[in-house]
Symmetry: C3
Amino acid sequence: MSDVDDLRPRVAAAVGALRERAPLVHGATGSVTRALVADGLLAAGARPMLTESAAEAPTLVTVADALLVNLGSLSTDGMVGFLPTARTAAERGVPWVLDPTAIGVAPVRTPLARELLALRPSVVRGNASEVLVLAGGTTGGRGADSTACPEAAARAARALALDHACVVAVSGEVDLVTDGRRSARISSGTPLLTRVTGTGCLLGALTAAHLAVATPFVAAVAATALLTVASERVAHLRPGSFRVGLLDALDEVGADEVAGEVRLAWG
Amino acid sequence: MSDVDDLRPRVAAAVGALRERAPLVHGATGSVTRALVADGLLAAGARPMLTESAAEAPTLVTVADALLVNLGSLSTDGMVGFLPTARTAAERGVPWVLDPTAIGVAPVRTPLARELLALRPSVVRGNASEVLVLAGGTTGGRGADSTACPEAAARAARALALDHACVVAVSGEVDLVTDGRRSARISSGTPLLTRVTGTGCLLGALTAAHLAVATPFVAAVAATALLTVASERVAHLRPGSFRVGLLDALDEVGADEVAGEVRLAWG
Amino acid sequence: MSDVDDLRPRVAAAVGALRERAPLVHGATGSVTRALVADGLLAAGARPMLTESAAEAPTLVTVADALLVNLGSLSTDGMVGFLPTARTAAERGVPWVLDPTAIGVAPVRTPLARELLALRPSVVRGNASEVLVLAGGTTGGRGADSTACPEAAARAARALALDHACVVAVSGEVDLVTDGRRSARISSGTPLLTRVTGTGCLLGALTAAHLAVATPFVAAVAATALLTVASERVAHLRPGSFRVGLLDALDEVGADEVAGEVRLAWG
């Protein structure tokens, strides 16, 4: 894949395969965004299963096709349940995404993210601040926002990917997906994605869903392409209507359109 | 009630009485679907009260007109709180619905569902897989999906209803409501109901709401009729808009229309 | 501020400053309404951060510009986390709002609300029943509804405000904001606000957001003005569409329009 033209058909194939196979995606994710994550997975063609308690999540992940672990609004159930759930996924070969939401100031989730990172996620997905903190560079932003420099984050992402043999996806005005050697940049999307709670979590969930049907690199690019191309269809709306329209667009947009319309570049 | 024409006026009366009396419905239900459950109850004319912790839920249920216990995305609070809450409801004569979401593989909720079943729910509501597991027949589907044969589920539902002196409602392409001796089938609805998270939970909550104003059998039929007739009004929409339109339709549809338009049969 | 005309420009300035400064609002609030609270804060121009566990919330509040503590659908995490979080806010000078949702019958949240009240909230926000219970007058309504007399609640609110040196906001058909000496009444709004779950929680969150840019009295008036004026724009819709349209309107309505259109009086 030295050419973007090689990547586009893989994106189309992944988005199409998701709809055809309807993978079961286990989402261990914060309570604020669960409904959007579940509805977004359904709209894209996947099937959601969301539970986080240590008593059930490690067992339930064994029947899933992929897992998302997202640290947003971390509960006690999540603090106790995330590690055994991710460990089971790693042992059973269930591909999984780590989304280290708002690490930095938060005292529990920052070391927890590092422990999770040792359990071989296929993809790490975060904003620039979160990726920099995970890579050891800074102490992070405030809340779920990112205040970091994109280029510093790109260097951190490449290092993180090489160190942990995973794909790292950094969301921002331009999204970056890297395995440490090659990097794709996706510049589709709309600032409205930051005006609705949970679109970052949904991107993590869609990445997990695509892991069931594609390689980690293609899965991360395809999920970003799907969400951002869908978002552009409803970029003229205000935030309440945008959230609704985004779900409609995830259902409506064709796999070939996603691959054809995404603004994609290497580098 | 040997004739469907005898059932229709009871459905109309129940849907109308719900709006008139605005019963307070205690929902002990998973975090993913709570907002849809609460908004759906409000749209239908009931008043929601959602809490699940053992420290508060057993006390709060004493002021409620009906209770829903739903095992979806079971939290530690729910594991500890559901049994004392249902026990209090049973002792105080508060009618209640058991929705054993995703039992089967899940290690805690499967035995918990059996313990709850011993506390005399008025209605058990689930999909075919869940009803088969609860009746002891199989080990269940994956997640909240159903993979079971409808006729096997109908037999299991009738046996479950007779064994536990309750009404059993099985959702699917055709919904079944049975008390073990007689059974109603409702074939209204749209596949879009499976493309939005929480419509099954909402059906359980609407069933609980109708328990405050009707017998268990009529309550289960009326709730199914209300939700499926409302869903047909917005069946042309994509999933994001469908979720919004479903709430609008629950508010808008008339009680007589629900009773008149529902596709209902005995058997 | 002896004249309503003195209050209007302060309301306009507060609503405008919120959008300009985008304060980070920490919401410790129930799981049912978190998505609406977060999306409503974003639509109004603030940035939400929602977490409630004792392990993280007291640390995270130190980077916030304001805090909301809402007792709705109280979880075990909230029971344990709310007091240390509010204590940290009080110690660090982070202004905060106490929303004692559904106190009265609920056995844990009623004494918890009193302990929280001792930690110097800038604003206490509730319906008439909740304010009467907190002031010691009654044992409260059922669930999150209010059954109390507005005038009795107004007296209780003034007493509560004087006793605790805070502003008390009582929502109802006419909203009241008082510091014990002077009181503003806002009669804008629509009954649809009671047909959607979480609009009371959202009002508490918007009040917290305005605390970052205005005095407690002006913050409570401005938040009520913003929400009720926005609600009137979409008062012709049914509840599902109303929830969506309300978020759009929070984004769209101008600060001067809010101040100009709000039905505001002293007394």
